[in-house]
């Protein structure tokens, strides 16, 4: 068994990416994710990899686009305003069906906002923040181990579905330290990259593009992408269910909010309240069926987010028709992170 390490979440992402075979990294400094480029700048050169601190977030995502078009596992990381800058190219990559990893250790907003843990980017991440109607695969780790594991999973799923993948975290999961048990990337069958550019050699020309002007061409392309999003919904939804089987109130939330919520749920259980936690791990695809199933019996859901209500829209669309959905959220900023006691109070209010 490999030894346990005590590392920050941002480092766990880097370790997961390196273990998954990611060699080129392209980024630009922004708090609270600077430990990612700093780690990569130390480690990748030793592994014959590539580290570039680009001139902007726009340049770095386009370097990812170029590298990914040759079939290598490439990544970039940033935080909210930087992700906004990358969106045009994320839309291109979704259209081009290029796998890659984009990490958003998000911060509070809007605008320059602040650097506190925030979930204000849920809509941007999950609804296809850029133009044209697309989705990226979005994974929301809530522990250091998940930062590592989900990074590896993201690279695999990105290749299987030929889709850009995003890790959506924040300063809590990015900066906190916890034990990490590193392990080799679980082996998984991956499709051949018969689309990757390599110089045509003796074969046929390959090209990667997003411009379709022929009659009906672009519509057909959009249906292909749509079918992929449906397949993701069918096959790749992931969530954690904690004490939900006998629950009369289910708390939900993702990432750092779910961590605080879990503590509150345990406190409620200690007081004899039948409360459970349903935590989406994939935000796109959203685990709709798990919500439908859980609310067939349990008719009360309390959604907790570090914003004024974003995921709650997907929760409302997913629960059984006669289930009630309550929301408790605090838009982030200094001093705005809810405490477990505060959430316990909300649980009792709606129980």
């Amino acid at each position: 068994m490999s030894k346990r390490l005590l590392v920050r979440g941002n480092e766990a992402i880097c370790r997961g990416a390196v273990e998954a075979g990611c060699r080129p990294y392209f980024g630009y400094p922004i708090t609270p994710q600077n430990d990612i480029p700093e780690y990569m700048s130390r480690v990748l050169p030793e592994l014959d990899g590539v580290f570039i601190q680009a001139e902007s977030e726009i340049a770095s995502i386009n370097m990812v686009l170029g590298a990914a078009s040759t079939g290598v596992r490439a990544m970039t990381s940033s935080s909210s305003p930087g992700i906004s800058l990358k969106l045009e190219s994320i839309s291109y990559m979704a259209a081009m069906e290029l796998p890659c990893l984009i990490v958003n250790i998000s911060r509070s907003g809007p605008g320059l906002g602040g650097i506190d843990a925030s979930q204000g980017d849920y809509f941007q991440a999950v609804k296809g923040g850029g133009h044209g109607g697309y989705h990226t695969l979005v994974l929301a780790p809530y522990s250091i181990q998940e930062m590592y594991d989900l990074t590896m999973l993201a690279f695999d799923l990105a290749e299987i579905y030929r889709i850009p993948a995003m890790i959506l975290g924040d300063a809590v999961v990015g900066q906190m330290k916890e034990p990490l048990e590193p392990h080799p990337r679980p082996s998984r069958e991956l499709p051949p990259k018969d689309w990757a550019l390599r110089g045509k050699g003796d074969g046929e020309q390959r090209f990667i593009k997003s411009l379709y002007l022929g009659d009906g061409e672009l519509e057909a392309r959009n249906w292909v992408l749509h079918a992929k999003y449906q397949a993701l919904k069918e096959n790749e939804c992931r969530c954690e269910e904690f004490e939900t089987s006998d629950a009369s109130l289910i708390v939900t939330g993702f990432g750092s909010a779910a961590r605080i919520a879990k503590t509150a749920v345990m406190m409620a259980r200690d007081e004899g309240l039948k409360v459970g936690l349903l935590r989406p791990i994939t935000l796109f695809p959203f685990p709709e069926k798990s919500f439908a199933t859980a609310t067939a019996y349990c008719k009360k859901v309390l959604d907790v987010e570090l914003n004024t209500g974003q995921m709650v829209e997907d929760v409302r669309l997913s629960v059984a028709r006669d289930a009630e959905v309550f929301f408790y959220g605090r838009p982030s900023g200094t001093g705005s992170l809810p405490t477990p006691e505060e959430l316990l109070e909300q649980i009792k209010k709606h129980y």
Binding site: E55, T70, L197, I208, K209
Partner: protein, 247 residues
């Protein structure tokens, strides 16, 4: 019988969508000939930019990736760093490279990326209908400078080749034109030199090619060709601005 003239292998046997008298097609041919002469077709990855030349993959028989508007030098950086054995070039217009993509070209050049850039300057945004570009000449009427470009409000036309040649990361920088047989032969030589830099791993190479846009200039093919020689060559002087390896 000896064959003295043929279509380059790197170019497809198809008709282009370029307007009559447009120089894009001629410049494509010179690039393709240079690829052939270095035997690069099989290991080349071209980066297409957003502009009239976006369909690079339709005309070149090479692997191509499309770049978002202005970002081709960043895309090419990613391609080349991931596949250092491939030959990588971008093909960009003046709106693409000298306006929205200013940061990407300067920094790719400054890092000395081992890529080649073909910069096609027609002093306008061809694809979107002839708007003013950073390279539009003073007094030139475009669809967004209907009274002619004025330095007071619109600044001066940017000389990109001169600008880039100041950067230590740039190994080769030249400006050429294809408006006369002599200029065309020179342009071919400059493109070949630029490619030789990359073939020999000698760093970033850049060729600006002055080009015509009869459609948006409101001129006949012949008038447009003459404008390149008279007005453009006068402001954008042809020549080699940097040649660190003395090719």
């Amino acid at each position: 019988m000896q064959q003295v003239f043929k279509r380059p292998e790197s170019l497809k046997d198809v008709q282009t969508h370029y307007c009559p008298g447009c120089h894009h097609g001629t410049i494509h041919r010179l690039v393709a000939e240079a690829l052939d002469e270095f035997g690069l077709q099989k290991k080349t990855i071209g980066v297409a930019s957003i502009g009239c030349s976006v369909f690079l993959y339709s005309y070149f028989d090479i692997d191509v990736v499309e770049s978002p508007h202005g970002r081709a030098p960043a895309v090419a950086t990613g391609v080349k760093r991931a596949r250092p054995d491939s030959f990588v070039f971008t093909y960009q217009g003046d709106g693409d490279l000298a306006a929205i993509g200013t940061a990407e070209i300067i920094h790719a050049a400054n890092r000395g990326e081992d890529i080649s850039v073909i910069f096609v300057n027609n002093t306008t945004y061809g694809m979107t209908g002839g708007q003013m570009a950073p390279t539009t000449l003073l007094g030139q009427r475009t669809s967004t400078s209907p009274f002619g470009r004025k330095q007071d409000t619109e600044g001066y036309p940017i000389r990109v080749t001169e600008l880039l040649s100041c950067l230590d990361g740039v190994a080769f920088a030249a400006r050429a034109a294809v408006n006369t047989p002599k200029n065309l032969m020179d342009a071919k030589k400059q493109i070949k030199k630029a490619f030789r830099y990359q073939v020999e791993g000698k760093g970033f190479s850049f060729v600006e090619v002055l080009s015509s846009c009869p459609t948006n200039w409101g001129m006949s093919a012949i008038q447009a060709n003459e404008r390149v020689g008279k007005e453009m060559c006068d402001y954008f002087k042809l020549g080699t601005y940097k040649n660190t390896a003395n090719f």
